[in-house]
Assembly symmetry: C2
Homo-oligomer: 433 residues x 2
């Protein structure tokens, strides 16, 4: 964990290093991913099975194409294996996520303008999407809800889900979440091979139009490579939180919030910004105490030691430009009155306001999506939403009178661009050609 | 030009080939583009100048970094070189584009739900965007308006424009369009080197957050490679139009509309779908006649010969599924009453309705954007809009009472996912830890 103090001479250089840091850690995987995609395009199901056997099932019986899809009986069995309490929690989460995403649904535009043209913009859902649910280090049923429910709310007809099953093990809660979200087409595959299958199709897996959901470095690179063939969402990096907290907070709460982020992944990042040095000390001490109690202490400690940071500011107003430069995936504002802070923040994936709103609420039951832009991409990217599953078609309708009012300008511009057929196609309707 | 008849036995195979066809033509450029990006990252302005000299200025004096930016005097001079008529046409186009894009601006969400949480979604503009304007085979002032005006309407603070200037020649109308759109930061560079400069920055060119605008294969591949570092819009391919027209249309008009698309590029595609064989013949004959008159006949003829198609259907209802499978960038519906057709179309970038609304209207003065998804990507992608220059931040605020209503479910789900610190960060505030 680093401590930075805005009043230090070296602060700007140290903060710039923090902002510029990459936390991917791994070596480039574009070559291997290119090979996997080519193999799946050439070999279809057989290649998908072979990669799945190699990466997820060493020592287990070889998969055949007929095994790829999770059966209805398996989903039934999974659902009955989940406790009613947990199914209730899943249902509360699903209802809240659905309500928030339905509230986002945009409306079509249609109007006649002064020149007499009818102009419009129509939203339509995608036909088919692929949802990638990580299943490696941790399988997250909440991610199933967060990916599938916005697609359903948008009106997507077909949702195909891929979830890797290392060691052949299926997480029952993941399947229960899929059923709750209305997803019945589930494949027990992951990695670049799953992305390739969704993008190009195999005999068993029909192509989709867009692939969403976070994954490891192979999944991220595979999405980049299939982009254009299908749509993708943003490329996810390690998770991060920035907590802006004054000294009136309970340092134990803040320590837990920082470690909730750190326990995700060794490459996760937790940053506290405060104007109270004693509070900063208390949080740092609490982090060490809490670390003793965590089942995932090794991961959380590595994240905190390598990437954690506490930044001291002289006044809270100094925090807002720093937050905007960090453009964090998650931002907790734990202040007496955050009105000015909230107005000053321009770049953040999601904001959690108040002393009673830890980021974990947003991971599960808040309602907004937990698939969010990481690695400073909140400068230009947004969390998953119904917009990821809709597209726009604009339209223009004109009669002869309307064309008469705007057509001559089109003819002039087309001629200036040297596009004679463009110009003539308008001019002929104006009776000029 | 191919003729397909839906009543032929071989129709499905022939149509499938048409849908699956790639029209890129070129060889893969990912290696050269990777080299250019690496060189620009390492060498900054010097590398940008060297590539520009090599690709755009053979035989001309070498550029220095101080030459990269187009001067205000050059813009002044360009504006005074454009005729008042043309400036008027540009202004009419700009006003209409601005009005349509302002009408798209989305509204923030903010509401309290039944559990007492405050939930919200806030749109904010990007800080800085890069606009790529093609300047090779044809420099399009209309593209300047179509890229810059939505960014301005969204509230983007800084717009940096790159336009290649082959032979050192600047198109005055491009500069006039930039000024009309409020763009004053213009660089005379193009290709992968321009994309790299915008994404990674040089001493002269500050980094942007997102790069939009169509370009050649090098530009498209460079955008793909910098994606993640910055945002990008969709990857543009050759342009295309599908015209669905009944026999009551003037075949000469339709021929001009088909050739307006074909004159863009040898790889452009123009497809007519009709239920009237005699009309199809008349259009095909008119295409040949019009070709004799076009300054860009060589390009248009090559496009029409290689990629043009006329598809005969038995009834117009048979056309809609074909259109959806083609998911065309541009669709003209030239029918007596297009209500049912319009309702049945799910996938198209932009639709032009009626006999008096050629696609060229949308290229210049309609108001909706002319930067549209090509190559079947209208299945999942949309035309450029204010949404390309905005991003969403979601937010949640909770007090202790609200947390009490949703917190227990979050604790249960976090524990089920094995994320103990997540669970504790909520439980501690519920008084349970």
């Amino acid at each position: 964990m680093r401590r930075l103090d805005i009043s230090d001479n070296g602060f700007e250089a140290a903060f710039r290093a923090l902002v510029g840091e990459t936390r991917d850690g791994g070596s480039p995987v574009d070559g291997p991913v290119r090979d996997i995609i080519a193999a799946v395009r050439a070999g279809g199901d057989t290649a998908v099975c072979a990669y799945t056997d190699r990466f997820d099932r060493p020592g287990l019986p070889a998969l055949t194409p007929g095994d790829l899809r999770v059966t209805e009986a398996e989903i039934d069995q999974a659902c009955s294996a989940v406790s009613p309490d947990l199914l209730g929690a899943l249902d509360l989460a699903a209802c809240r996520i659905e309500a928030f995403h339905r509230a986002q649904l945009p409306r079509d535009l249609e109007f006649q303008d002064e020149a007499g043209l009818m102009l419009g913009l129509r939203w339509t859902p995608l036909d088919a999407v692929g949802i990638y649910v990580p299943g490696g280090k941790a399988a997250y049923p909440s991610s199933v809800l967060m990916n599938a429910i916005p697609a359903r709310a948008a009106g997507v007809g077909r949702i195909a889900m891929c979830v890797p099953c290392p060691g052949g093990v299926l997480n029952p809660l993941v399947l229960a979440a899929a059923r709750r979200a209305g997803v019945e087409e589930i494949y027990r595959i992951g990695g670049a091979q799953a992305v390739a299958a969704l993008a190009y199709g195999t005999r068993t897996i029909a192509v989709v139009d867009r692939i969403v959901g976070p994954g490891n470095a192979y999944v991220a690179e595979a999405k980049r490579q299939v982009f254009g063939q299908v749509g993708i969402d943003s490329i996810a990096g390690p998770s991060e939180v920035v907590i802006v907290a004054d000294g009136d907070n309970d340092p134990h709460h803040v320590a837990l919030d920082l470690l909730a982020q750190a326990e995700h992944d060794e490459n996760a990042q937790s940053i506290l910004i405060t104007d109270d040095p004693a509070f900063a000390d208390a949080v740092a001490a609490n982090v060490q105490t809490v670390l003793e109690t965590l089942p995932r202490a090794a991961i959380a400690r590595e994240s905190w030691d390598r990437y954690g940071a506490i930044i001291l500011v002289g006044t809270m107003e100094q925090a807002w430009p720093l937050v905007n430069r960090l453009a964090p995936e998650h931002l907790q504002l734990m202040l007496g009155d955050d009105t000015r802070a909230f107005a000053a923040i321009r770049h953040a994936g999601a904001i959690f306001r108040g002393r009673h709103c830890p980021e974990a609420i947003g991971d599960y039951v808040g309602g907004p999506n937990h698939v969010l832009p990481t690695n400073r991409t909140a400068r230009f990217a947004s969390g998953l939403s119904v917009y990821d599953f809709l597209k726009r078609t604009t339209w223009i309708a004109a009669d002869a009178a309307a064309l008469g009012r705007v057509g001559p300008a089109a003819v002039a511009l087309a001629e200036a661009e040297g596009l004679h057929a463009h110009a003539s196609s308008v001019a002929v309707r104006l009776g000029q050609a």
